[in-house]
């Protein structure tokens, strides 16, 4: 049994971490840190946890030494407090954007500020088990990637790593409102958001830089907010290298994801859910990926779907924890999703 602290526990990602970690057989949640609700009951903010815990939110100063700290604070808070947390825990899993990029100049360009701890950027292992599993087994600092970045990376990784596509691709990402966080402003009022299909980042979204980094290609991403609370779907457009057809694409997906516990290749010929669709993944840690090929045009379309709070955040972090601790990778993550939802 390990003792963990969740910092930023009142947010949506923090709440999802608490849900997973409270139910995890090898974990004791010792602290749920919130600067907004110290002393208040956790299940007052996260009502789905009623009867699951009597935990109260605490301040950061009240956190005692523990085995693992999860950081789900607003962006920029983690990089200014990292030394505090590395001094209190053996492993830190950072779910903020602060350590997702390894180049301080790229960070400045995408986040609009200088990095406060650039000397630590290279120390973080990216929390993408499908690409970095061996490094995660011994990692003490893990940076869990952005939700749309995970979907984009998993949608093209087998093809990029085998150089089956030209080294540039477009990513059309759709996201639910929970991706904006629990303190989102006026733009996320129900009256403003309901029914909207809002292109909020036609260019320059931060997750674009992560996709480029992990795929080793030039990524161009557009992000749109859609009528959903949870869920991310990323549709990727790429050009196949000459001579590459549907058969090679299928083989690459099969070979790379055959043994992955949380990636499923979905490109069905029949049924209502023929291609990846976030609706049936809510609450689960799966990322479904699918593809279609226009061989004549050399055009490849891939699709990835996930729950942004799960495989796009808290679930992925717990998967990384399981790998780091040598536990079964799906421990505490076996929920298969809902249908209908």
């Amino acid at each position: 049994m390990i003792r963990v602290a969740v910092v930023g526990a009142a947010g949506y990602i923090g709440g999802e971490l608490l849900r997973l970690l409270i139910g995890h057989p090898e974990v004791e949640v010792a602290h749920a840190v919130s600067s907004r609700f110290p002393g208040k009951r956790v299940d007052g903010v996260h009502p789905n946890l009623r009867s699951a815990t009597d935990l109260l939110f605490s301040t950061a100063d009240e956190v005692e030494e523990c085995d693992v700290v999860f950081l789900a604070t607003p962006h920029r808070a983690a990089m200014t407090q990292m030394e505090r947390w590395t001094g209190q825990a053996k492993q830190v899993f950072d779910l903020t954007g602060d350590f997702r990029l390894d180049d301080p100049e790229v960070f400045r360009r995408y986040y609009g500020t200088e990095h406060a701890a650039p000397h630590l950027l290279g120390d973080f292992v990216p929390g993408i088990p499908e690409l970095y599993r061996d490094r995660l087994r011994t990692a003490d600092l893990v940076s869990v990637p952005g939700c749309m970045a995970v979907a984009g990376v998993l949608a093209l990784h087998p093809l990029a790593v085998e150089s089956l596509i030209e080294p540039r691709a477009q990513f059309d990402a759709r996201t639910g409102s929970s991706g904006s966080g629990a303190t989102a402003g006026e733009a996320n009022l129900h009256a403003e958001r309901s029914g909207a299909m809002r292109v909020f980042a036609p260019t320059g979204h931060r997750h674009e830089a992560e996709i480029s980094r992990h795929l080793g290609i030039s990524a161009a991403m557009t992000a749109t907010g859609v009528e959903a609370v949870r869920g991310v779907q990323t549709v990727c457009h790429a050009t196949l290298r000459p001579g590459v057809g549907k058969s090679e694409v299928r083989r690459a997906f099969r070979e790379h994801y055959r043994d992955e516990p949380f990636v499923r290749v979905v490109a069905h010929q029949r049924g209502t859910f023929r291609y990846p669709e976030p609706k049936i993944l809510l609450g689960s840690n799966f990322c479904d990926v699918g593809f279609a090929v226009d061989e004549e045009a050399g055009r490849l379309v891939t699709i990835a779907a996930l729950d942004n709070l799960m495989k796009g955040g808290a679930g992925n972090a717990v998967q990384c924890l399981n790998i780091r601790m040598g536990w079964p990778e799906n421990l505490g993550l076996s929920f298969p999703g809902l249908h209908p939802a």
Binding site: S247, R250, A267, H268, Q269, R270, G271, R274
Partner: protein, 59 residues
Amino acid sequence: MTTATTQACPECEDEVQLSPSVRLNEIVECAGCRSELEIVALSPAVLALAPEVEEDWGE
């Protein structure tokens, strides 16, 4: 056929298990891509995509 066999799906190339009692024109489903496949020949079994009605979402 007297023993279970496998054939490649003509759509996705996944292996499709065929029971020994499979009959001509029987429809089986591929687990990989969920295509409906028709047995169009026996000994050896030959699979072909079964015709289907496609969805139209506003085209």
